[in-house]
Every structure is written in C-alpha cells, then in structure tokens.
C-alpha cells in the first residue's frame, strides 16, 4: 500500500519531468518557427528553426554580465516560477499536479515571473530598464484584472477552482442555446490576453528595441540574459498550453480512434496538442508581422476596452449563460 503510493508519486514526478523537459525544447523551437514565419511574410529567407536554441546555448557558454547581485539573481527565480507553473498543466502527457485552488495559484505563478524580471531589470539601475519595467507592470495590472475575471467565470460555471476539474472546460448547456456564450467569449478574450502577455507586437513595449534599446534586457549579458529570454519563451509556451488545455477535449479525441493498443491514445493526444501549438504560434506570429508597436497609453486604453468586455462575460456567467 505504502509502496504503491511511493511508486505513484515517483511516476507522477517522472511524467511531469517529461512534460517540463519537452517544454524546454519546444519553447525555443516555437520561437524559431515564429522567426521563420515572420521572415517569410516580410519576403526574407529567415534563420533556421533551431536558431533560437543555438542563440541560447551560445549565451550560456559566455561569461555573465550584470550590474549588481540582485540584478543577476532574480531572473533565475522567475525561471523557477514558470517551470513550477508548467507542472500544473497537462501538456504532452496528461499528468499534472493538482491541489485545491490551483487556478489562482497558476495565475500568480505566471505573474510572479513577470514581477521578478521587472524588479531584476530595474535593479540594474539603467533608466531604460526602469521605463521598460514600469510599462510591463502597468500592463500586468490590467492583465491580472482580466485573468481574475476569467478565473471567476470558470469558478462560477464549474463550481470549483481546481484546474484538473475545469480542463477541458465544459461549454455545453442542457437546453438551447447549447453553447455557453460566456465561455466562448472567455476563450476569445483569453486568446487576446495571451497574445498581449507574451510580449508580441503591438504590445512588445517592455523590450521595445529601437525605442528603449531592449528595455528590460538592456544590462543583462551571458547566462543571465539567456535565462531572461528562456523565461519569456517558456511563459509563451505555458500560456499557449493553458489556452489549448481549456478547449482541447482529450478524452473525446482519444475515443474517436478507439483502437485497442494502449499507447496510441497518448500518442494521438500529444500529436494533436503539438499541432495545435504550432497552429496557434503560426497564427500569432502572422498577426504580429502586420503590426508596429503601440504607444503605451494606446495599448493600455485597448486593454481597458477588453477589461470592460470581460465584465460582460462574468455577468453572463452569473445569470447562467
């Protein structure tokens, strides 16, 4: 009995480890795909898909550069937070950690990584980093407001705050209209929110290379820079995974191909997941190619509009739609 428990824990750890390890590889690859797509849309040839991995590994070999101890250390804590947040979501394998109220915990782990990178970059003392971080935190405040509305909508409709009970969410109702309008709106809003939070054009305000000379990244060098970049990439992967998990009915997908061989459903699952991941990335990067950077106040006004729309979502959910 006790032995069984330990074996279960070991298996769980192992599976989650596989999830995180694949995420570590996939996140830079997705960035490579994005670069390729953007280049093709702008009539360039573009770097190979593995270019981001080469960049990161080269940076890790270099000697680090930072202006103070706090400045150098905080990106690593941000990295830890994102890695732990990954364990709460089923990705390639269906296994995930699950505790009561982990939906809120998940949101906080994601925003904590933003906070640590922001503090770290301001700690460099560079005014450009200060401007970039203050922009990022201004955006974070509104993002968290919308995230809270989304969490509350999910909690109202599913009567729980446990991610594994919510994912994939149940968008069907007993009587017409058969699809819940609040949850469909929620998915759209979440997609926009993820687009914003993953620092893409036109919301790439914290780095803003031509304007702020890389903003939050400005004083980092070597492994420290690589960790910040890696954290940003993993966060993109994490948020995309969250979106896919919300809508992908894994059980239905697996039962569609009811073959008796046990490993096939898992394989199908993983393949569908990865395909969706690539589709979303291609979609997001092609949207990105058509935009310039917003001014910070225009970006915030845009987000405020989304905020007001998400209030409609929670009110719809409260009255039962």
């Amino acid at each position: 009995m006790v032995l069984e428990k330990y074996i279960n824990i070991a298996l769980l750890t192992c599976f989650i480890g596989i999830n995180i390890a694949i995420a570590m590889v996939l996140a830079p690859l997705l960035d490579g795909v994005e670069r390729k797509i953007r280049a093709r849309l702008q009539n360039r040839k573009g770097p190979p898909i593995t270019q981001t991995i080469y960049d990161l590994s080269k940076l890790y070999k270099k000697k680090g550069s930072a202006t103070s101890r706090l400045h150098a250390l905080l990106p690593y804590i941000a990295f830890v937070h994102v890695a732990i947040a990954l364990a709460f979501l089923p990705s390639i394998l269906r296994t995930s950690i699950s505790i009561y109220g982990d939906l809120v915990l998940f949101i906080y782990l994601v925003s904590a990584s933003v906070v640590y990178i922001a503090i770290g970059s301001i700690a460099s003392g560079n005014p450009f980093a200060g401007i970039g971080a203050s922009r990022e935190i201004s955006m974070l405040m509104i993002i968290e407001f919308i995230f809270a509305l989304i969490a509350s909508t999910l909690a109202i409709t599913h009567r729980t705050l446990v991610l594994s009970n919510i994912l994939p969410m149940n968008i069907y109702m007993d009587k017409p209209p058969f699809l819940k309008p609040s949850l469909i709106m929620l998915v759209v809003i979440l997609a926009i929110l993820i687009y914003i939070e993953s620092l893409r054009f036109p919301f790439e305000l914290a780095e803003a290379e031509p304007e702020l000379a890389s903003g939050i990244l400005i004083e980092y060098g070597g492994p420290h820079l690589a960790t910040v970049l890696y954290t940003l990439l993993l966060r993109r992967y994490l948020l995309l995974t969250f979106l896919i998990d919300l809508v992908l009915p894994r059980d239905t997908v697996a039962s569609l191909l009811s073959i008796e061989i046990p490993l096939i459903p898992i394989g199908i699952d993983a393949i569908v997941f990865i395909v969706l991941l690539f589709i979303l990335t291609i979609l997001f990067s092609s949207i990105e190619a058509f935009f310039g950077r917003y001014r910070i106040d225009i970006a915030l006004r845009f987000m405020k509009k989304i905020l007001l729309i998400s209030f409609v979502v929670i009110i719809l959910a409260l009255i039962g739609f």
């Binding site: 000697k63 680090g64 550069s65 930072a66 202006t67 103070s68 101890r69 706090l70 150098a72 250390l73 690593y76 804590i77 990295f79 830890v80 937070h81 890695a83 732990i84 505790i99 009561y100 109220g101 982990d102 809120v104 915990l105 906080y108 906070v115 640590y116 503090i119 301001i122 700690a123 560079n126 005014p127 200060g130 401007i131 971080a133 203050s134 935190i137 201004s138 405040m141 968290e144 407001f145 809270a148 969490a151 509350s152 909690a155 109202i156 009567r159 705050l161 000379a213 400005i218 004083e219 060098g221 070597g222 492994p223 420290h224 106040d297 915030l300 006004r301 405020k304 929670i314 409260l318």
Partner: protein
C-alpha cells in the same frame, strides 16, 4: 509531550495571577521612574515593553495550545456591593481569540521595542525621551489590556487610553507642524467622533443587558436579535461604525495616512501593525461572539472592505512619500481583512454546506491576513525608519541606490514588499489566496469583490515595485558617498531579520495558521462545516501551497548555489548610458512617473477624490476670504467635521429612544 505541556500549564495557571501582577508592577514602576531622565528615559520603558510582550505571549501560546481560557481576577478596589456594575476588579480572560491577537501584538511590540533602542538616537538632542518612553509603554500596555479584558466597561476604558497615548506619540516631534496637525486630526476623528459612538452604544447595551460581561452581553444580544430587530441593528451599526473609523475603512480613513507617517517609525509599526487590528478583534467578537452571523451586516462589511481595499491601494499607488505610501497600504490591507470577514458572515448566514465550506475558508483567510499584515507592515515601517535613520529622507523622488550601503535593510524590505504584494513563496500570498478561494466561486456579488481584490493585489505589487526600486536600486539623486548612509545598528537589523524570517516561515508552514484559526472558530462556537478539518478542501490546498512554496524555495536555492559561485566570475559592468557621460541621476525614472500612464488611463478611479478635494478647497478658501470662518480646523480639513456628524446621529437616536418614537 502533551502531558508535559499540561503539567507546565498547571504550574503557570497556579502562579498566573501573581506572575501577571508582578510583571505589571515591575514594568510600571520602572517606566514611571524613568520619566525624569531626558536622555536615558526611553530605554527602561522599551525593555519593559519587550519583557511584557514575552510574558503575555507565553500566556497566549499556552491558551492556544491547551485550548483553555485563562481567567484572572485582579481586584484593586475593596469589593463593594453598591456599584451597579462589577467594576471593582479587572477580570482578565484570555480565550483563543484574544490569545491570537495577543500573539500578533507581541510580535510587533517585541521587534519594534528592540528596534527603538537605536532608533531613539534620532531624537536624543531634540526631544525629551522620558515622555517618549512613558507614552510608548502605556500605549503598549493599554493595547494588551484592551485585548485581555472580558468586560465591556474595561474594554472602553483601555480603548480610550490606547487612543490617547497613541495620539501623544503621533504628535511627539512637536516642532514639526505636520505632526501636531496630524495628531489633532487623529484626535478629532477617532476620539471625539468614533469613540463617542462606541461609548454610547456600549452604555446602551450595558444598561439594557444589566451587565458588562461579554458572556451576558452575548446572551442578551442574541435574544434581542429575535425580539427587537430594529434596536439590534441600530446598536450593532453604531458599534461597527465606531470600530470602522478606528480601523480606517474608507469613508473614515483620512486620519490614518496623516497620523501614521508622522509618528516615530517604530511607533508607526505599532500603529499600523497592531493598533488597527484591535478593532478587527472587537469586530470578530461582536459579530461572531455576541451576535449570530448576519447576512446584511456581512454584505455591508464585504462592500466596505472592497471599497476600502480598492481606494486605499489605488491612492497608495500615487504616493511619493515612503511612509505615507505604506500608510495608504495599511488602509488597503485592512480592506482585505474586512472583505474576508464580511464574506464569511454572509456565507455562514446562507448556510448551505457548500457555502459553509467557503465561509470557513474566508474566516481562516481573514485571520491569516491579520497576522500576515501585522508582520510585513511592521517590517516595512521599520525598513522605512531605517532609511530615515540613515539618510533623513522620506521622499521617493530623491532617494535611491541604498542597496549597496544597507544590504540587510534592502533584503528585508524586498521580502516584505514581495509578501505584501502576494507573490507566491511568501506569507501574503497564502492569506490573499484563501480570500479569493472563498469569494470567486460564490455565485453572488462576492465574486465581483474577489475579482477586484485580485486586481488590487497586482496594484499592490506595482506599488511596492516602485517603493523598493526607488529607495534601494535606482541611481540616487543625492550623492550617497557624502551622506552618512550605511547599514543601521545591530538592534534595528535584528528586528528586521526576525520579521523577515517570520514572513518566509508563515508562507512555508501555512497549515499552522489554519489549525489556529479553526481552534478560534471552535471557541467562538462558529458553525464551521466539518467534523475533521481534513474535510475542508482549502486545508488540503493550503498544505499543497506549503509544498509548492517549499519547492520554489528549494529550487531557487539549488539554482542559486552554482550562480552564487559563478557570480565572482560575473563581470560587474557599469551602467550603459548611450555611450555618453551623462550622469544617470538626471535621467532616472522618478517615483511619480512610474505609473503615470496607468493613472491617466484609469483616471476614473481618482475622480471622486479629486472632486471632493476641489469642492472642499473651494468652500474653505471662499469662506476664509470672506472672513466668515472662525473655526480654522474645520475648514482646513473637512474630515474633522466627521465627529459632529457622528455625534448628531447618536443624539438623534437617543432622543428617538427617549421619546419612544421609534423603538
């Protein structure tokens, strides 16, 4: 282990009265004897306060561990039968609820007293330290006794003394005009207004109930709730308004951001960390102990809490004075506690099993946030005090770059900032998380309140990123090498380190607090849902949170080790300034510029405050110009008119009751 504890408990019980009286007598005599000493007079009272905190917290821990009430009767007048109410002795009774608040108070008192040893150096040439010590000690003592008595008469006596001494401490630096003015405003709003309200309510309750003991009043009020609902709600509302003024909830909060920053920093820690928790204590006793959970009061309290946390924190975001920013955050964090309390009252009164579980979680969250706020807010005030001690400045626009000179202060300020911001491995996260868990899935207005609380938590984060980075990391506008900026003396560092460790420990072992909260709930006979606490899902969640926090800390340390080793290899580079030789302090981001765009985009949040300010300033200046105004104070600050309003309400109620028109 348990038998050992019980034996120890027996011994302490048998000597408790004499120990109590002896420690009180020694410390009071020591304090009174040190009044005449102008320069050394602060030290004996500080030692006495630290000593009292140890003695009283041991009583409290004993009461919590054995789940018994410690009763002491201390008579100081020969018992006479003529007195209508039993005033001839103070009856001390420490039940788990008061024990919990005594522990909170003891943590703050112990650390800020030790901190005071060095901090009083600031005043040594300017002020009379004997009076500082006298006021400090009696302020601490009256707070303790307010929490310990089980008699409404003695409660109001010590409550008044608490306000009186804290007011003297606020106006301690008497050559500073702002300090004296803040003390006066504090007096007007709390003593003149709210305590009048509480006093009248208490007098009415005791006359009607014919007793002052908590037990009898509880019986009377619960029977009154059945027989005369209107009178019941009137009495409770009067009492609550008085308490809400004292804990600075929003319509009545304007005294706090003036009064708390002006006091010496360790007193600010006491005021924000523990004094505004005393009304919370009485609120729990009133709404759970005396009355049964009530739907309307719960909703009202949750609404006030949400408004308080939103307005308090949004105004904190625009502050540029370090201690004033912290004081506004005290208002905001009290809002969280009120929201948790109100939500639990509402959900208990609905009473279905699902809501009862949520209500239990909300109550645990409110109690947990009370202790967390005490720890991180007093730590923040102490670090702000250390910065004042080192540089003499409170202005976030000019400070900067102190992390290099004051590493311990900087680290503890960082920990406290992350705690109050609710970032995962620290304590503030767990209590806020519990409050969200109870409000978000409740299908009512409460889930909107929960969403607002979550948003405000990120505003708090933003505000403290500003607070920490402007003081400690950004390039300074002052030339630091010329000032005396260096690490503060050992007593101050010691207090900061203790509180910082508590911030981390309370985040890593959250289940301890859940046990405490549940034993408090059981002692108050609150109908919590479960036979065994393991059926509360949040408890399992809390354990999970503890594990996740441990995971974060251990992973961070595991990553730190190689990096800390390689840091010596890290090239410490100069800050890049576009290749030119501009001095960075000229172009560094100013505190008021951090979130200026956000404030412009969300200007609606500040509209009401601006309109009110403009309106009152126009009236005031008009009347001053015409020479109508004789009462200067009323016009300079319209909030000082609040007591008149409250007193009018009380008089109206009394007249209506007297004429039997209404009740």
């Amino acid at each position: 282990m348990l038998t050992l504890l019980e034996n120890l408990a027996e011994i302490i019980y048998s000597y408790s009265s004499s120990l109590f009286i002896a420690s009180l007598a020694i410390t009071i005599v020591l304090t009174l004897a040190s009044i005449p000493f102008r320069k050394l007079g602060a030290y004996p009272p500080l030692v006495s306060s630290a000593f009292l905190s140890i003695v009283f917290s041991s009583y409290a821990i004993l009461s919590l561990a054995t789940r018994k009430t410690i009763d002491l009767h201390i008579s100081f007048i020969p018992i006479s039968t003529q007195l209508p109410i039993k005033m001839s002795f103070i009856s001390i009774s420490i039940d788990p609820l008061s024990a919990f608040f005594i522990i909170i108070l003891s943590i703050v008192v112990f650390t800020s007293s030790i901190y005071g040893f060095s901090y009083v150096d600031r005043f040594i040439d300017r002020e009379h330290l004997g009076w500082y010590g006298f006021n400090y000690f009696f302020f601490v003592l009256s707070m303790y006794l307010t929490l310990m008595v089980n008699d409404l008469f003695w409660f109001i006596v010590f409550w008044e003394l608490m306000t009186l001494f804290s007011q003297f401490l606020v106006a301690y630096e008497k050559e500073k005009k702002e300090a004296v003015w803040a003390g006066y405003k504090y007096f007007c709003i709390t003593k003149f207004g709210s305590e009048f309200m509480i006093l009248s309510s208490i007098v009415l309750i005791t006359i009607l109930a014919r007793s002052t003991l908590y037990r009898d009043i509880g019986l009377y009020l619960s029977s009154l709730a059945q027989s005369n609902t209107l009178l019941f709600y009137t009495l409770i509302t009067m009492f609550l308004i008085g308490l809400l003024v004292k804990c600075a909830s929003v319509p009545f909060h304007s005294w706090l951001p003036d009064a708390h920053p002006e006091a010496p920093s360790n007193v600010s820690a006491l005021l924000s960390g523990s004094m505004i928790k005393v009304p919370i204590y009485m609120m729990i006793r009133l709404l759970y102990g005396f009355a049964k959970p009530d739907f309307f009061i719960g909703i009202a309290l949750a609404t006030i809490g949400t408004i308080t946390l939103a307005i308090g924190t949004l105004y904190a975001l625009i502050q540029i004075d370090s201690k004033r920013l912290l004081a506004y955050h005290s208002v905001g964090q009290i809002g969280y506690i009120l929201l948790g309390l109100g939500a639990s009252l509402t959900l208990f009164s609905i009473g279905t099993p699902f809501f009862k579980i949520l209500a239990t979680v909300a109550l645990i969250g409110a109690l947990y946030h009370t202790i967390n706020h005490a720890v991180f807010k007093s730590l923040l005030f102490l670090t702000a005090g250390s910065v004042i001690y080192a540089t003499g400045s409170r202005d976030l626009n000019t400070l900067g770059g102190l992390a290099k000179y004051m590493p311990i202060t900087a680290l503890s300020a960082l920990i406290a900032s992350l705690s109050i911001a609710g970032v995962p491995p620290f304590n503030g996260f767990v209590s806020k998380w519990l409050i969200y868990l109870s409000t978000l899935p409740s299908i009512s207005i409460l889930c909107i309140y929960g969403v607002i609380a979550m948003f405000i938590s990120s505003v708090t984060t933003a505000s403290f990123i500003k607070y920490f980075t402007t003081i400690f990391t950004r390039t300074s506008r002052i030339d630091l090498s010329k000032t005396r900026a260096r690490e503060v003396p050992i007593p101050m560092c010691f207090s900061q380190i203790i509180l910082a460790i508590l911030c981390i420990a309370l985040g890593l072992i959250p289940s301890l607090m859940v046990f405490t909260a549940i034993s408090i709930a059981k002692s108050l006979e609150i109908p919590i849902e479960t036979e065994s606490i393991y059926a509360i899902p949040a408890f399992i969640g809390v354990n999970g949170i503890g594990v996740v926090h441990l995971l974060i800390v251990s992973l961070a340390i595991a990553l730190f080790m190689p990096i800390a080793l390689s840091l010596s290899r890290t090239k410490v580079s100069d800050i890049w300034s576009c290749g030119t030789k501009i001095s960075l302090d000229r172009i560094s981001v100013q505190a008021r510029e951090y979130y200026m765009v956000f404030e412009n985009v969300f200007h609606e949040a500040y509209t009401l405050g601006h309109v009110l300010y403009k309106y009152f300033v126009t009236i005031a200046s008009d009347k001053l110009r015409k020479g109508i105004a004789k009462s200067r104070s009323l016009l300079e600050d319209p909030h000082t008119a609040l007591p008149l309003v409250l007193i009018t309400i009380v008089l109206l109620i009394l007249i209506l009751m007297r004429l039997r028109l209404w009740f």
